[in-house]
């Protein structure tokens, strides 16, 4: 696949979507049969957890779709407001439980915004490395799940998880836990890299390109995949912007917006990586954008693993116990694999945050789910949902 470079593609601006777009292609009930109201979820093999879509079907066609949330509403924000800043860190792991590292980072970043702590150089590198590894894990798993939804019998998912295990091994030897890393701290990281970790990481990252090639051969050119996903669930760029869609989903609609470039948080301006953009905004684009993003992540990782300096890993001003930020508020956000993950914190000077709010990309990306699904078939609705990439822990919090 040849790649045409495009310097800073201009982002289209939001159109007025003040009126909900009229669903296209729905038939009037008079012609068809009776409408079939089907609840898909909360226990449904497709829905990535306890998500529920109340679907109204005309034959196989979706004429109405209402997402129902809250089946995994675990009161994260309330708990966080009743506990210390540090104690919320392990809870952020459980937000988007595929991406604990980036969640940690987003939270740490927000607290750093609030308090002015500055992570040292080495910590910033570790953060980039772990965040990009997380992106690899997330995108790999997502693609596996998406293909599972599309009816592939486990094989892509198995290959994805085979690869995931390699990265989880890295996370485990770094942080002690496979999934719930609880690794970052305000002003740095919790533990330094163990001996040999960088070499091991380099090896995993080095093998990733080959895995992506294999995956490409396995499925990307498969006619069924192409037929199933192209032209399905199209999301126009204007609607995407107006609906606050972020992450690969937004970029698949052709909007050039990546917080790693836009906010240049951390040390991302040191890495010359590119942002792949889709032109159609359909499921196939969302799938391919993630594949291509992984290749960029691999490049970032290779550079970061090469350049990581020695040094301390945490701001010496950081305190573990008795941490009380000054009164004030801060909103910090990073580009997590699913989109913009933000934390909004209000401090009243006590050890607990007065208000603790997570801006969940998964939830907000679902805003346009109905628009994308109307007029499509049930089977499409399932893969459209799959291509949004949600994790219920984050949707419902």
């Amino acid at each position: 696949m040849s790649e045409s470079e495009l310097l800073s593609a201009p982002a289209p601006t939001a159109m007025n979507y003040e009126i909900r777009p009229k669903p296209a292609g729905t038939s009037d009930a008079e012609v068809g049969g009776e409408l079939l109201e089907v609840a898909m979820g909360p226990h449904h093999p497709s829905t990535h957890g306890v998500f529920r879509m109340d679907v109204v079907l005309d034959g196989e066609q979706v004429v109405k779709l209402k997402p129902v949330f809250g089946y995994l509403h675990r009161n994260h924000e309330k708990i966080a407001e009743n506990t210390t800043y540090l104690a919320s860190m392990p809870y952020t792991d459980r937000l988007d439980y595929l991406c604990s590292m980036t969640n940690n980072w987003a939270y740490a970043l927000s607290v750093e915004r609030l308090t002015g702590l500055i992570p040292p150089e080495r910590a910033e590198y570790i953060r980039v490395i772990t965040a990009e590894l997380t992106r690899l894990v997330n995108h790999t798993c997502l693609i596996g799940f998406l293909l599972q939804d599309m009816g592939a019998l486990g094989t892509p998912l198995m290959y994805a998880f085979r690869q995931r295990e390699l990265i989880l091994d890295l996370f485990e030897s770094l942080s002690g836990s496979r999934m719930m890393c609880n690794y970052m701290r305000f002003g740095g990281c919790r533990a330094d890299l163990p001996a040999g970790w960088l070499e091991q990481a380099a090896q995993v990252v080095g093998g990733y390109g080959q895995f992506l090639d294999e995956f490409q051969a396995l499925i990307s050119e498969n006619e069924i995949l192409v037929a199933r996903s192209q032209g399905v669930g199209v999301l126009p760029a204007e609607l995407a912007i107006n609906s606050s869609i972020t992450g690969p989903m937004l970029r698949a609609s052709g909007v050039n917006f990546d917080l790693r470039k836009a906010d240049r948080y951390g040390i991302y301006d040191r890495f010359p990586f590119r942002v792949p953009l889709g032109d159609h905004g359909d499921v196939y684009d969302r799938y391919m954008i993630r594949l291509l993003e992984m290749r960029e992540s691999v490049k970032i990782l290779e550079q970061a693993l090469r350049e990581i300096p020695a040094g301390p890993i945490i701001d010496p001003k950081a305190k573990i116990r008795g941490f009380r930020p000054k009164a004030g508020e801060a909103y910090g956000r990073i580009e997590c694999p699913k989109g913009e993950l933000g934390f909004y914190l209000i401090s009243d000077g006590s050890p607990n945050p007065y208000r603790y709010r997570v801006r969940p990309p998964s939830l907000i990306n679902l805003t346009v789910l109905e628009d994308m699904c109307l007029g499509q078939t049930v089977a499409d609705a399932v893969i459209i949902l799959g291509s949004v990439d949600i994790v219920l822990g984050e949707v419902d919090r």
Binding site: A87, R162, S177, E221, E223
Partner: protein, 219 residues
Amino acid sequence: MLGEGIIKGMAETARNFLGSYHDAARLTTVEFPEDKIPAKESARNFPFLVHDGEDAMQGLRCVACQICEKECPPKCIFIIKDTNKKPDYVGKLQFQPKVFDIDVSVCMSCQICVEVCPFDAIKMDTDFELGGSDRFGGLLLNKRRLAKPNSYYHTIHPTEAAEVDGRLAAEKAKVEAKAKADAEAKAKAAAAAAAAKAAAQTTPPVVASTPAAVVTPAK
């Protein structure tokens, strides 16, 4: 041409199928109960209490300061202080926990208790085979079940344990030296300053290398 992609994909699966017979990378299964993936050094599952010496209950490092109890995010530690003190590893008189329960059915394995404990008394275990049918009795671990010797700590986290031991030894040495110095100073209150200087020189050089792997909490 139609079908090309499918055939490519089938070639890929065929490669994996055949590879599974000779290539370890294509047969990644570890047959669990018989073979086990070696635990990573930093792996953590549930906390345990480190004790020194033979007697678990006597040698607990925990001084029931209840910091961990307060900081544990899901509040799954429960401590009742004992009323009488006993000397700790540096010989200082400290409280002991009368009750030290951890409800592992709640514990989120976050390691925050370990991080905040100023006495290196609580550490993370790697054992995960705790499943069972008894929820109430089986998963509320008491002091006895939590106590594990330092040697065990060494086997599961050798690097970290060595660092901790080093640090503790250093502290102990420092305290001892100070105590000794104090004692000597008291005994030889009238003695010359030279004698005191000589006593200080006997103190072994302390290299308190701050361990890189463990963030020492601000004490």
